[in-house]
């Protein structure tokens, strides 16, 4: 085949290529490697043989790693890319359980029931995710649920601290301590989730997306702060 010359005008080059016709066999040289044995499709099948402890520990480690990422929010892709909903479920259940005052007399207008806390957290997270997607966000549905659920962790810690403080007493001092702890954790939750979610929003609508997240954690903080054991 005639060599392509760089000094010819561009149109002429393509015209030449169109004129070329190939006949006969063309030999190609090179190397192709096909992974055999411990390749990734095979890995999935081999997890059937591993001990159950290993399977569980792998998931637990992933959840634990995400907890660490929430407590020290940096731009990590682990929360976003490898989303899972185990962490949020555990946090939601433990928070809802801790918010039960153990009041036998359920006729009183007491704190939120278990189902109410559960519904508020999950329904609230779904609504916020829908809101951010409707406003043009690029994050996927479950990634957003994952982030919002995991960022409840500081508030769960605050709940734990509040319960311990209430064991010691329920006077003004304990209230002030609880107020400060809940405020700090509320700020932490909001900032952590905003750090993860804000980048996926269109720039002139960031405030529209952040405000519902603020409201969501505010409501959870309110439930924690107003918790009174019966």
């Amino acid at each position: 085949a005639p060599p392509l010359r760089a000094d010819r005008p561009g149109v002429a080059q393509f015209a030449e290529l169109a004129d070329m016709s190939l006949s006969g066999d063309i030999t190609v040289e090179g190397e192709i490697t096909v992974p055999v044995g411990a390749a990734s499709p095979d890995e999935d099948f081999s997890t059937l043989d591993e001990p159950v402890r290993e399977t569980i520990m792998r998931d637990l480690k992933a959840v634990g790693k995400k907890f660490v990422h929430v407590m020290y929010p940096r731009k990590s892709s682990a929360l976003l890319r490898d989303w899972d909903l185990w962490g949020p479920l555990v946090l939601c259940v433990s928070l809802a359980l801790m918010l039960q005052g153990g009041s036998a007399d359920s006729k009183e207008d007491g704190g939120p029931q278990f189902a109410e806390v559960f519904v508020i957290i999950w329904f609230g997270a779904v609504v916020i995710t829908l809101n951010s997607k409707l406003l043009g966000g690029t994050i996927s549905f479950f990634q957003s649920l994952c982030v919002l659920g995991y960022c409840v962790l500081p508030l769960t810690v605050a709940m734990l601290v509040c319960r311990l403080v209430l064991l010691a007493g329920s006077g003004t001092v304990s209230f002030i301590v609880r107020l400060l702890v809940v405020l700090a954790m509320f700020a932490w939750s909001t900032l952590a989730s905003t750090a993860f979610l804000a980048d996926s929003q269109p720039p002139n609508r960031k405030a529209l997306v952040v405000y519902p997240i603020f409201l969501f954690y505010f409501v959870i903080s309110w439930m924690i702060l107003t918790f009174t054991p019966q």
């Binding site: 207008d109 406003l135 043009g136 609508r205 529209l208 009174t228």
Partner: protein, 306 residues
């Protein structure tokens, strides 16, 4: 190919010469808002209807009107259809909130701010905020009122959140639905110049509820006079926005029906405010009847006060 290049430049030269000869020929320019003439729609102006145009806001720059015909073309079962109701930026939402709180006399909220881009973001999140504002403020207010009484045991009163949510969301959706149905029905009988779509009515109602959020927070102050002054003040502000929005839509109708409609709108708005105040916020100075104390052997002691 040298000849080719010269030919191309010659063409450009010709074009430049033509443009120099006729500077106004094919230029496209974007007008300043003040340049748009008042009657750009070319409607026949009747005497005494100038206020219509003002209320309709046709003297404002209607950049979004260009897009009005292209909106909401997706079928209702697709996600994109609902995205068209969230097509607002932060500053637009803030502007609409400002417009609902400071009614400009003579300006119509719908035409001025919404301009055929009704959004559901504002109504939904304003209602959500209002629900929690009322529940939290009511709880705080009751706590402060009863603080120090020996028989008082603080309860978070979480039941009231669901009641507040039902009430406020019902008001924000059912009243616009009823009003829209009523306006459609009257429209079929009397030709009205102004008519609103359902989404626009929902939008106006949603944004008009915004004033109740700071009002609810200020209701924590346990003074009866302060609370009622706040009710009247917020009712005047948001009620006037509603009246100025819907008066043009019923003005052409029978006088009595028009007045009755506007009066009903204001009345329902007032009812919401007063109802929330009465239900969620305990009265500041009255004594309370002590609760019914069930005694273990089955007899019940009822202590009656007042």
């Amino acid at each position: 190919c040298q000849n080719q290049r010269m030919h191309l430049f010659a063409e450009f030269d010709d074009a430049a010469n033509l443009l120099a000869a006729n500077p106004d020929a094919t230029t496209i320019s974007i007008d300043e808002p003040s340049d748009i003439p008042k009657n750009k729609h070319g409607r026949l102006q009747q005497p005494g209807r100038e206020e219509d145009d003002e209320l309709l806001g046709t003297d404002d720059s209607d950049k979004t009107e260009l897009l009005a015909g292209q909106k909401k073309s997706a079928p209702f079962w697709t996600f994109e259809y609902y995205q068209t109701f969230f097509d607002v930026d932060t500053y637009q939402v803030l502007d609409r909130i400002k417009g609902s709180v400071f009614p400009v006399p003579g300006k119509n909220f719908v035409r001025l701010y919404i301009r055929s881009n009704p959004d559901l973001y504002g109504p939904f999140w304003i209602c959500a905020t209002l629900v929690f504002a009322i529940a939290v403020s009511g709880n705080l207010s009751n706590f402060l009122i009863h603080l120090g009484k020996p028989t008082y045991h603080y309860v978070p009163e979480f039941r009231k959140v669901s009641i507040a949510a039902t009430t406020i969301y019902a008001y924000a959706w059912l009243v616009p639905l009823a009003l829209w149905g009523f306006l459609m029905w009257r429209n079929s009988k009397v030709m009205n110049i102004v008519s609103y779509s359902f989404m626009e009515i929902v939008c106006v109602y949603g944004y008009s509820l915004f004033i109740y959020i700071p009002t609810a927070i200020l209701w924590i102050i346990p003074q009866r006079v302060v609370r009622w002054v706040l009710v009247v003040f917020s009712l005047c502000l948001s009620g006037s926005v509603l009246v100025m929005t819907f008066w043009p839509a019923v003005r052409d109708d029978n006088r009595r029906i028009a007045l009755a409609t506007v009066a009903t709108i204001v009345l329902l708005h007032a009812l919401l405010a007063v109802g929330c105040l009465a239900y969620f916020f305990d009265a500041p100075e009255l004594d309370f009847p002590a609760p019914i104390i069930p005694v273990h052997n089955g007899t019940t002691i009822i202590t009656k006060v007042q």
